[in-house]
C-alpha cells in the first residue's frame, strides 16, 4: 500500500515536472526573484526591507498561483481525460489515490519552494542583506498556506470542473486573507445578524493571514513559537478536514 502511495505521488511530481506551465512559472519565478534587486535601486534607506518584501511577495505569489493551478485541475482533468480509469481500477483505494495525488502536488511545490528560497537567500547574501530568523520563518509558514490552498483545490476538483475549482480557490485565497477584516467590520456593525454572519464566516473560512509573516520579516519581528505552532496546527487540521471531505465526495463518484 505504501509502495502504491509513493508510486502515485512520484508520478504526480513527474507530471508537474514535465508540465510546460510549471516550467514556465518556475522560470518566471527565478526572473522575478533576481529582478527584485533592480527594483530596490529606487530606494537607498530601506533597501533591505524592500528586497525582503519583494522577494518574499514574489515567491509567495508564484507558488500560490502554482498551487491553485496544479490542484484545482488535477482530479477533474483525470476524470475528463479518463486517465483515472486505469489507476482507480488497480488495487488502490480512492482515498489513497486522492491523498497520494495531493502528496505529489505538495512534493512539487516543496521542491520549487526550496529552490526559490535558496535562490532568494543567495541573492540576500550577495547583496549583503541580513538573513534573519523572521525571514526564514516567513518562508516556512508559506508552506502551510500552499497545503491549505492545494487541499481546497482538491476538494473543489473532486466534484467540479477545472474552471469552477480554480475560480473558487482563487476567491477563497482573497477571502482567506481578508477574513480578519470581515470579522472586524462585522463586530462594528449594530446589526446582530450581520455580526453573527461575520463571526461565522471568520471561523468557517480559512484564515490565511495566519501564515503571512512577510510583514514581520521586513521589520525583523520574531513571532513567538507558540503562535507559530498554533498556526501550523491550524493549517494542518484545516487541510485534513478538506482532504477528508474531498475523499468522501470522490469515493462516492461514478466515473462514467
Amino acid at each position: 500500500m505504501i509502495r502504491s502511495f509513493w508510486a502515485i505521488a512520484f508520478n504526480g511530481f513527474r507530471e508537474a515536472r514535465r508540465n510546460r506551465v510549471t516550467l514556465v512559472l518556475a522560470f518566471f519565478a527565478g526572473l522575478l526573484l533576481l529582478s527584485a534587486s533592480l527594483i530596490t535601486d529606487i530606494t537607498i534607506a530601506t533597501f533591505d526591507r524592500v528586497l525582503i518584501d519583494i522577494g518574499l511577495g514574489g515567491m509567495s505569489l508564484i507558488l500560490v498561483l502554482l498551487a491553485i493551478f496544479l490542484s484545482s485541475s488535477l482530479l477533474s482533468r483525470e476524470i475528463e481525460r479518463r486517465t483515472i480509469f486505469m489507476v482507480v481500477s488497480k488495487p488502490v483505494s480512492r482515498g489513497m489515490f486522492l491523498v497520494a495525488r495531493l502528496a505529489g502536488n505538495m512534493l512539487t511545490l516543496t521542491v520549487l519552494q526550496v529552490l526559490m528560497c535558496a535562490l532568494l537567500l543567495l541573492e540576500f547574501w550577495s547583496l549583503r542583506t541580513p538573513i534573519t530568523t523572521p525571514t526564514l520563518l516567513a518562508m516556512g509558514m508559506l508552506w502551510f498556506e500552499l497545503l491549505l490552498l492545494s487541499s481546497l483545490g482538491f476538494l473543489m476538483s473532486s466534484f467540479a470542473g477545472s474552471m469552477t475549482s480554480a475560480f473558487v480557490t482563487v476567491s477563497m485565497f482573497f477571502v482567506g486573507h481578508l477574513s480578519g477584516d470581515i470579522y472586524q467590520l462585522a463586530q462594528r456593525s449594530k446589526n446582530v445578524a450581520l455580526k453573527m454572519l461575520g463571526t461565522t464566516l471568520y471561523y468557517v473560512l480559512p484564515n490565511l493571514e495566519r501564515f503571512n509573516l512577510r510583514g514581520q520579516a521586513s521589520y525583523g519581528i520574531v513571532v513567538p513559537a507558540r503562535e507559530l505552532l498554533s498556526s501550523a496546527v491550524y493549517g494542518l487540521a484545516y487541510s485534513a478536514i478538506l482532504i477528508w471531505l474531498a475523499a468522501l465526495v470522490f469515493g462516492r463518484r461514478d466515473f462514467r
Binding site: 509502495r3 508510486a7 479518463r82 480509469f85 466515473f255
Partner: protein, 319 residues
C-alpha cells in the same frame, strides 16, 4: 469444483442526470451473469446496451443501484481482489507525459509486482505486445493502435487470472484487431479468464466460449456460442436435381426461396417443410444432392434478439 471468476446477480444501474439530478437513465436492469474460470466471455450489444456500465461496476468505477457483483467471491470494492484483475477501458487514456515503459512500470508497482521484477516484467509484456522498440517514446507520440498495445501490456503486467476488456478492438485497423485477437487467444492458453464487451460480432464468434447479448440494459440471450447458433437455425438449404421449379411448387409446400442453378434447384425452407419436401422429391423421381442447415451467423442472432426486444432506441431507457 469450478471456481467462478465473476458473478453478477440482479445488477441494475440508473444514472441520475441534470443539474438537479432529476432526469433518470436506466442503463442496466437485473443482470445475472456467471463467468467460470478459464472462459472467454463476450458481452455483445449495440451502443447504450449497458455493456460498459456492467464492466465499470465490476471495476468499481461506477456504483450499482441494486444487485451484487462478486469478483472471485468478493465485492469489487475490495481493493485486494482487484489485484487479480487486469483492465483495459474503452479508448484507454494512459498518462501521455509518460513513456510506455514508465506507464507499464507504474501499473506494475500498483499491481504489486515484486520491486526487483518491475523493470524486467514491464519490458517483457511490452515486447509481447510488439512495443519493445517504442517503449521509451512518450505516449503523446503514440498512435491509437500503440496506445491499445500499451494498455494491454499494463493490464497483464501483474499476471492477473481475470482480464476485463472494454471494446478492445474498437477503432483499430485490421492489423491492430488481429493483434488484440491473438493477445486474447494467448491469454486463454495461459488459463486466464477473459471478459470483453464489443459490438463487433466476428470477434465474439472467433474468440468466445460463451456470450451474453444485452439490449437496453436487459440480457436477451445467453449461452455457449455454438449452442446459440445451432439452436437458432431457422431453415434448411437443399440442392435438388431432376425436377423443375414449377413441379416443386406444385407439391404445395411453403418454400422460402427457390433458385435455378443450371440443372439444379437451390431451395430454402423451414426445417419441418424441408423434411416433408425430401420425401415428395424422392417420390417424384427427383434427387437430393445436398441438404444442410442454412447458414446462421451470430449477427443474425444478434439482430433477431434486437428485434425481439423491441427496443429501437440507443443510449439506455430514459425514465
Amino acid at each position: 469444483m469450478t471456481r467462478n471468476s465473476l458473478e453478477l446477480e440482479g445488477l441494475s444501474k440508473t444514472y441520475r442526470l441534470g443539474f438537479w439530478l432529476s432526469r433518470q437513465v436506466k442503463a442496466l436492469e437485473g443482470l445475472d451473469l456467471t463467468i467460470e474460470q478459464g472462459q472467454v466471455y463476450g458481452l455483445l450489444g449495440p451502443n447504450g446496451a449497458g455493456k460498459s456500465t456492467t464492466i465499470k461496476i465490476v471495476m468499481n468505477l461506477v456504483r450499482a443501484t441494486s444487485g451484487t457483483a462478486r469478483l472471485f467471491g468478493k465485492p469489487p470494492t475490495d481493493t485486494e481482489t482487484r489485484r487479480q484483475v487486469g483492465f483495459v477501458p474503452e479508448n484507454p487514456a494512459p498518462y501521455e507525459y509518460l513513456t510506455g515503459r514508465e506507464f507499464v512500470q507504474l501499473a506494475a508497482h500498483l499491481g504489486g509486482v515484486p520491486r526487483a521484477e518491475v523493470a524486467r516484467r514491464s519490458m517483457e509484456v511490452l515486447e509481447s505486445v510488439g512495443m519493445g522498440r517504442a517503449a521509451d517514446l512518450q505516449i503523446r507520440r503514440y498512435s491509437k493502435g500503440m496506445i491499445q498495445r500499451v494498455a494491454l501490456a499494463q493490464a497483464v503486467v501483474h499476471r492477473p487470472p481475470l482480464l476485463i476488456l472494454d471494446e478492445p478492438t474498437s477503432g483499430l485497423d485490421p492489423v491492430g484487431r488481429r493483434m488484440v485477437r491473438d493477445f486474447i487467444l494467448e491469454e486463454r492458453k495461459r488459463g486466464t479468464t477473459v471478459l470483453f464487451c464489443t459490438h463487433i460480432i466476428p470477434d465474439v464468434e472467433a474468440l468466445c466460449d460463451r456470450v451474453a447479448v444485452l439490449v437496453n440494459g436487459h440480457r436477451v440471450r445467453e449461452g455457449r456460442v455454438a449452442d446459440l447458433l445451432t439452436a437458432a437455425v431457422p431453415q434448411m438449404e437443399l440442392v435438388i436435381e431432376g425436377l423443375s421449379a414449377e413441379r416443386l411448387r406444385s407439391f404445395g409446400r411453403t418454400l422460402d426461396d427457390v433458385q435455378q442453378l443450371e440443372a439444379r434447384l437451390l431451395v430454402r425452407a423451414a426445417d419441418a417443410e424441408a423434411q416433408a419436401l425430401v420425401a415428395q422429391v424422392l417420390q417424384a423421381g427427383g434427387r437430393i444432392s445436398s441438404m444442410q442447415p442454412g447458414k446462421f451467423t451470430l449477427e443474425e442472432l444478434f439482430l433477431q434478439a434486437l428485434s425481439e426486444a423491441k427496443h429501437g432506441t440507443v443510449g439506455g431507457e430514459i425514465l
